[in-house]
């Protein structure tokens, strides 16, 4: 058997059930891989004792024949999820030392289904970023490098640590969250699979909020099958989250037929952006051909308001964030600034938040504050919400025309070098989300599937967008694409 840490969830699950290995061996294999991967800076809080304990418990369950979906499978948890008694900082200094007294619903669901948590994963601070460079823990590093080039690349963001860890086989899978592309862009940058489910599919309770109307948790895995397995374990109605959907969770894995004959796949012309790299253009065309070969019907569609998704997002997300992050005030948890003689409550707030939040978070909180402030609310916030209505309607129209899924590139480029965007203006970085953000605004499910390598040998991903609540169908289409693309490349181990 290959190194246990390189197994997929499905492979490991089957091996465990057959008794070919144990959860403790699997876990130990991952812990060893993590120890050797400090250079990736993917895991930022390690919980090996807890992991081995959970693995032992999982082995006991397996022995009794009581093995739920994720039983004994070692995974990493994004630092955005509050995990009871384990540091949960959202990649921010302001939550330094914070030990939640509660477990997020999604991580609890995973634990309940037998998963073994190895530790917490690096991320952009408060999930604000597309390169994992805004983290208080420092950059997470992509295990992939350009051919003949040792420059450190970004694993993408905000779920950069999750993507790097899965791509480097430090864990079998990881949780991510996606507000504007934070699961799908890092998945595409690391040759992994990431699905952002329909808004409301996974509970947001216990996940540090960035932008409440956009945030969704989802799995980051090595294969589409693994995404199906893990999403099934994460999802479900949660009465503690008012926006959680009271709908049954289908058996996503059972739905993976890969039979997409007769399915209507829409190709939106507005995603053919000016200046799109030829490689991305080609990847997209290849993807179209693969789905066609698999029997799908390809139709050209129009999503006319696509261009306005990113600007609308950069009003709505900061606005919600400015309010969601008001609770980080140094009163009840986390960092509190040392005060000077005579400093009052206002100074405490201002110093605490200036010290606790990094520059990108500060910038977005202030932009959000501005767009909600008196006199600008209608011009910015309400207008953005109206545009959001139009963006959602674009999708509703094409789905009403019988389109089952939409195929687009996942990112406008392959992974770029860490530090490369350092001097660029903030908007240049925001453009990373150009293909993914519409999906969050419309509340739809979207999955990134690795589909090829660029000339530098870096992975590239395609995105499939599905109808609301149709993750099972979407994953089946993704499965067909995955089979056709036959992406098997792995990064050369340099770390």
């Amino acid at each position: 058997m290959a190194d246990l840490n390189t197994l997929t969830l499905a492979q490991a699950r089957d091996a465990l059930r057959k008794g070919e290995t144990t959860a403790q061996e699997l876990t130990q294999s991952c812990l060893t891989a993590i120890e050797g991967a400090a250079a990736l800076n993917a895991f930022v809080h390690h919980t090996p004792e807890r992991a081995l304990e959970a693995a032992a418990a999982a082995d006991a369950r397996l022995a009794k024949g009581d093995a739920p979906a994720m039983c004994g499978l070692p995974i990493g948890i994004k630092d955005l999820f509050c995990t009871k008694g384990v540091p949960s900082q959202a990649g921010s200094r302001i939550l330094e030392g914070f030990l939640p007294q509660y477990e997020s619903t999604v991580s609890q669901n995973l634990l309940d289904s037998g998963a073994v948590m190895l530790g917490k994963l690096n991320m952009d601070e408060f999930a604000m970023g597309s390169s994992n460079e805004t983290s208080v823990y420092g950059d997470a590093v992509n295990p992939w490098r350009r051919k003949d080039d040792s420059a450190a690349l970004t694993p993408g963001g905000s779920s950069g640590g999750s993507a790097a860890a899965v791509a480097a086989d430090l864990c079998l899978a990881a949780t991510g969250t996606d507000t504007g592309g934070s699961i799908r862009q890092p998945a595409a940058f690391t040759g992994t699979v990431g699905i952002k489910p329909t808004y409301g599919r996974c509970s947001r309770w216990g996940i540090v909020a960035f932008a409440s109307s956009l945030d969704q948790a989802g799995p980051m895995t090595k294969t589409v099958r693994d995404a199906a397995i893990m999403l099934g374990a994460m999802a479900g109605h949660d009465p503690k989250d008012s926006t959680s959907a009271d709908l049954p969770v289908p058996d996503f894995e059972a739905a993976l037929t890969g039979d997409i004959r007769g399915k209507k796949i829409g190709i939106p012309k507005e995603y053919r952006m000016e200046g799109m790299p030829a490689e991305i253009e080609k990847l997209w065309a290849d993807g179209v051909a693969m789905l066609k070969d698999a029997g799908a019907q390809i139709v050209d569609i129009s999503l006319p308001h696509t261009k306005y998704a990113l600007p609308a997002y950069y009003v709505i997300a900061p606005a919600e964030a400015s309010s969601n992050l008001a609770r980080y005030d140094g009163v009840r948890y986390g960092h509190r600034a040392a005060l000077d003689q005579g400093d009052g409550i206002t100074e405490m707030y201002e110093k605490t938040r200036a010290e606790g939040f990094g520059p990108e978070v500060q910038r977005r909180v202030m932009v959000g504050t501005y767009v909600l402030s008196a006199g600008f609310y209608d011009a910015y916030y309400n207008r953005a919400r109206r545009v959001r209505t139009l963006i959602k309607k674009d999708f509703e129209d094409v789905f009403a025309d019988g389109v089952d899924a939409i195929l687009t590139p996942a990112t406008p480029s392959s992974a770029f070098a860490l530090g490369q965007m350092k001097d660029a203006d903030p908007v240049a970085m925001y453009l990373n989300d150009v293909f993914t953000v519409t999906v969050n605004l419309a509340g739809l499910p979207g999955v990134a599937v690795p589909a090829g390598l660029d000339a530098n040998g870096l992975p590239l991903g395609l995105q499939l967008i599905g109808r609301p609540w149709a993750e099972a169908d979407l994953l089946s289409t993704a499965y067909a694409l995955e089979q056709a693309a036959g992406f098997v490349a792995k990064p050369d181990k340099w770390w």
Binding site: F81, C82, S88, A90, L95, F98, P100, Q101, Y102, S104, R204, W205, G206, I207, V208, A209, A211, S212, S213, P239, K240, D241, S242, T243, A319, E320, S322, S323, L325, A326, R327, D329, V331, R332, Y333, I345, T346, Y349, T369, L372, S373, A374, Y377, Y381
Partner: protein, 503 residues
């Protein structure tokens, strides 16, 4: 229902140094919903717990915590709206009001700015002199209460207790229809009475269950009528908001002193600044709350953690069907069915317990007599004990017995008071008291005649005097009553004495 009709009261006029001024007042009343759990969390609302004991992670705004709405609080807001004859909005939504304060853990208060659950309603405010003001209610919305900051436990620190954080409040916003300090107090009193009838708020002002922000402005006589005709606020003066008042007495004093402050400013050629002020009862003055003023830009926006609140008309109808009879209707009925005076009807309908007690006593009896006994004897006696109607040792049935005993001439009104006192102190049944203590009135004229004869025989001098001056007959009556232990029927005694003394 019988409508109550009243004249409109005159607005309060304050004479300035130069001109006469009228007052224009609007109120925002915060009424705590009587619920077990908080509006958006399952922590208890109980008053007086250990600090931070009634706090969930949601209330403490721990990272990732989310609100879920308490159905009962929604129901109580609807009930209140129906009680104020207001429109119920089947679609409403929650907004965040953003500001930083240590006792506001989220950094925002969840409220309903754009789409409140209750729209326009009204409150009839009787002034007790035959006049009443119909005050329009603009809206009622649901919102979270804040926590409590304690500033006097440490010289350098403030201490924060989040027990109140997240308790459901109804903010009841009136139009600027209130025209004087007394009306303001009466409005609050009437609102309190209605909420207590509805059971939606306990109305306890001391514990902060009801508090009011009072908006005060002044205008010259005639300007208010222009505003009324056009709803154009420019006819009114600039208003100041006096925050967080929880005493009727202080509200009146604060309005008075604030109006005078504004008059002085305007008459001196200045302009009133729109601002939030605080009333200091020790110095009887209002002062600016600059801390609240500084850069207050609440950046309201719809709370993305909550979906729109959609309620069903059938549910509203069901709540409407379970509304109790409200004060105005009850008072009208008391006036009509029992022939009470306006004053007595007001006193007896002040709260449900009094009204219920009275009705039980008055059932099948003389209403006026029942009112008289409840108000004068029972309330008077309870007041002496600093007790309340719910603690009355005399049950309505027992008080009814007393009235029945009087009506059947079994006891006199005077003896009845003694019977009442015995019943009040011992809880014994009046009928039994009268029987056991031999307090039954003597109506046997033979017995009374014998007593009269005895007294006449024993007091020849008095008889002579009385024959000259019939007014002295009272002395004989008194003697007879004394001799019969007060049990003789006074009417019979009077008649017999008068007959016997006839020359």
């Amino acid at each position: 229902m019988l409508d109550l009709t009243y004249d409109t009261p005159k607005p309060r006029v304050i004479a300035g140094a130069k001109y006469d001024w009228e007052l224009v007042i609007g109120m925002e009343v915060h009424a705590q919903v009587s619920s077990n759990a908080k509006l958006f969390s399952a922590a208890s609302t109980k008053f007086g717990a250990e600090p931070n004991a009634n706090v969930s992670f949601v209330d403490a705004a721990m990272p990732g915590m989310l609100p879920t709405i308490n159905e009962y609080c929604v129901e109580q807001a609807v009930r209140t709206g129906l009680g104020l004859k207001a429109d119920i909005n089947l679609h409403s939504a929650f907004d965040r009001k953003n500001y930083f304060y240590p006792d506001l853990p989220q950094g925002y208060q969840i409220s309903q700015l754009y789409h409140p659950i209750v729209g326009e309603g009204e409150v009839l405010v009787e002034m007790g002199d035959g006049t009443a003001r119909l005050v329009r209610v603009e809206r009622i919305h649901l919102e979270q209460d804040a926590g409590k900051s304690i500033h006097d436990m440490d010289p350098n620190m403030s201490f924060v207790d989040l027990n109140r954080t997240g308790v459901a409040l109804m903010e009841i916003v009136s139009r600027p229809d209130i025209r004087g300090p007394e009306e303001a107090a009466a409005y609050l009193g009437k609102l309190r009475q209605i909420l207590r009838y509805l059971g939606t708020c306990d109305g306890n002002m001391q514990s902060g269950s009801m508090r009011a922000d009072v908006n005060v402005s002044i205008c010259r006589p005639g300007d208010y009528e222009k505003y009324q005709a056009t709803q154009d606020f420019s006819h009114l003066g600039t208003r100041c908001e006096i925050k967080n008042m929880n005493s009727m007495r202080f509200i009146q004093a604060a309005i008075e002193v604030e109006a005078k402050r504004q008059i002085a400013i305007v008459e001196a050629g200045g302009a009133v600044q729109q601002e939030t002020r605080l009333y200091d009862p020790d110095r009887n003055e209002t002062r600016s709350m600059r801390s609240k003023e500084e850069a207050h830009d609440y950046r309201y926006f719809p709370d993305p953690d909550l979906l729109p609140l959609v309620i069903e008309q059938a549910w509203v109808d069901h709540i409407g069907a379970t509304l109790p009879e409200l004060p105005d209707a009850k008072k009208a009925r008391f006036l009509n069915d029992f022939g009470l005076t306006d004053y007595d009807a007001s006193v007896l309908t002040a709260d449900l317990d009094s009204a219920g007690y009275f009705e039980a006593v008055a059932q099948g009896r003389d209403g006026k007599m029942a009112a008289n006994w409840v108000i004068n004897e029972l309330f008077g006696r309870l007041k002496k004990d600093e007790s309340t109607i719910t603690q009355s040792p005399v049950s309505p049935g027992q008080l009814g017995q007393i009235i029945d005993l009087i009506a059947s001439d079994a006891i006199s009104g005077k003896i009845a008071k003694d019977v009442f006192e015995i019943s009040y102190t011992t809880g014994r049944d009046p009928a039994e008291i009268v029987e056991t203590e031999g307090m039954k009135q003597v109506t046997d004229t033979g017995a009374i005649e014998a007593a009269v004869n005895d007294i006449i025989a024993a007091n020849p001098d008095q008889v002579a005097k009385a024959r000259e001056n019939p007014k002295l007959a009272g002395w004989f009556v008194g003697q007879v009553m004394k001799a019969t232990g007060g049990k003789a029927n006074p009417k019979a005694v009077n008649q017999i004495v008068a007959a016997k003394l006839k020359p």
